[in-house]
Symmetry: C2
């Protein structure tokens, strides 16, 4: 480990991905790239929680199928989600039967899964790892905020939890873009206590993680074709750029936020998407396609961001601790150290 | 990976541990081994949730201090807990500032932390990892069951959530018992839906994990001086022994359950302890002391068990998915593969 950054000697590949998203999400750019578009966000289930887990199960199974494998061929399933006690992940693990390690990083879960999966594969501890996460607007809304039936007005700085799930399979065998290194984030809390302003809460954690990444790797932002944050939304993205600018780091040329691009955002209207499914869907559909489809995208720094709050901590007056983990995904990289 | 089992080439050592527990817990055997006994289970805090996180912070800091190090010397902090969105772990990570990876395995979190920490250290990805978890009777009770003020009667098969926390530091440098291999559990659900009977729900997951471990390693139960399950309690332990006996595996001679021994149990009265803090406290105080103190205990198979339910899944009629991960901890082991 160099500082906070792990370098992978064998640069594990992302050999397949799969995604599913709801109707609102698929009206945007990801609609052209997801494996399945839901026309009904209940996915035929009686509760939103069951719909969420069915999406996660779909993404995990589809990702294995697209690699031409069976679930028995996968050694470990790394997953977590926003619901209390990560039930979407646990119930999905029960259905697919792959040895399971539960993880939690709120909306940063996808990059945590990439990071831990890459380490387990790179070290030869497992042959194939599937990392997956997802979220559902309606299950998140009623768990974190208000009953949907209440029709609460949303403040202008609020983001919209993405209904969707994404999964990725990591292996040393096969082809695909490689994970060359990853920076483990520290928890950063700038004192934001408004659970409707998560972009502002998470921006300092994203800035901290990116600064550590550039410091540890000796790379500058222009090393990457794309610096992809998780779900800062429009306001959070502006804050991130400002925070980095103050430290002499300019990411304005190549920064994109999954939350900003997942919906057809009219910026005055709302801040974009959030939720563990936001970066999971955008990264594993649209961006993965560009990394593998000959579009010229070669180096992506994927830094999903998470707000580590609960209704209890907010209710007890705590501010919002946040985190981000950055994963370098490169085509034909020079393998490090 | 052999089946579900990871073998560690360099057998990372548990170089230090630290524990803290409440007054009820310290009336039992662990009272002689914990670093700090609380006389007041609020730990001077206004809420039980804050007391829980203060215990976790104490254990993490104390573990680093006992190794003669500072928190800056630790590369990664692996932690999770039972509270929604693992806030105890996240807020602890904020205070200590170590790069943080959130994990969740309910009461199996301690063995998941050992397993992932061992892999990261063994592969040379991090120099030192601290794994930690904890729980608090009062915060768990009001989150998972009923308001404490209600004074609800407990059914005879209920366990008592341990108030306590434990932490362990893993490193290739230093001395201490080694983690030689670890078996990642699959999620097992035998259809138990009674959230007051977690021992019965978890026993099949423990049996599954132990069977996989013996199959993958070619070891028999008598290879170990002690097979230590997490928190099955009295009933769950009997079920585990029966389930294994049916498969021709006899663990009766060397099986002990952390939940059974953490309190002064009069068996007719109640089932013993549970909670993420149960195995974290017993393993990292009493058992670690026996492994390092020349008592002759040489080989321990530590299999913490977790019930992956939430109040929402139970409320929606789901049964309880469970998991266990087994970690082989050995003094002066022959290093494998």
């Amino acid at each position: 480990m160099q500082g906070q950054t792990i370098f992978f000697r064998n640069a594990p590949k992302i050999v397949s991905t799969a995604t599913i998203a709801g109707p609102k999400e698929c009206a945007g750019i990801v609609g052209r790239y997801v494996d399945r578009t839901l026309t009904d966000d209940t996915f035929g289930e009686k509760t939103f929680e069951r719909a969420e887990r069915k999406m996660l199960l779909y993404a995990a199974r589809k990702c294995v199928e697209k690699a031409g494998l069976r679930t028995e061929d996968v050694d470990v399933f790394l997953s977590g989600d926003l619901l209390n006690q990560i039930i979407s992940a646990s119930f999905t693990a029960r259905e697919i039967g792959i040895p399971f390690l539960g993880i939690y990083g709120a909306c940063s879960t996808m990059s945590e899964g990439y990071l831990l999966g890459a380490a387990l594969v790179d070290g030869g501890y497992v042959g194939r790892a599937v990392a997956a996460t997802g979220s559902h607007f309606s299950s998140a809304e009623r768990q974190y905020r208000f009953p949907l039936e209440q029709g609460t007005t949303r403040p202008p700085q609020a983001q919209w939890t993405v209904t969707g799930a994404g999964a990725a399979m990591l292996s040393l065998e096969g082809s695909g873009p490689s994970i060359t290194c990853a920076t483990v984030g520290t928890v950063v809390d700038f004192g934001v206590s408004d659970a409707n302003n998560m972009g502002a809460a998470m921006a300092p954690a994203a800035a901290s993680c990116l600064m550590s990444h550039f410091r540890d790797t000796g790379r500058s932002p222009d090393y990457y074709d794309l610096i992809l944050t998780g779900d800062l939304g429009a306001l959070g993205s502006r804050l991130l750029k400002d925070l980095l600018w103050e430290k002499g780091i300019d990411v304005s040329a190549n920064h994109v936020d999954c939350g900003e691009i997942v919906y057809k955002v009219i910026e005055d209207e709302f801040q974009g998407g959030s939720g563990a499914g936001c970066s999971a869907v955008v990264m594993n559909s649209y961006i993965y396609d560009k990394l593998t489809g000959g579009s010229g995208l070669r180096r992506v720094l994927f830094a999903a961001t998470g707000a580590l709050l609960s209704t209890v901590s907010s209710g007890q007056g705590d501010t919002i601790p946040c985190i981000a983990h950055a994963v370098a995904i490169e085509n034909a990289p020079e393998v490090q150290k």
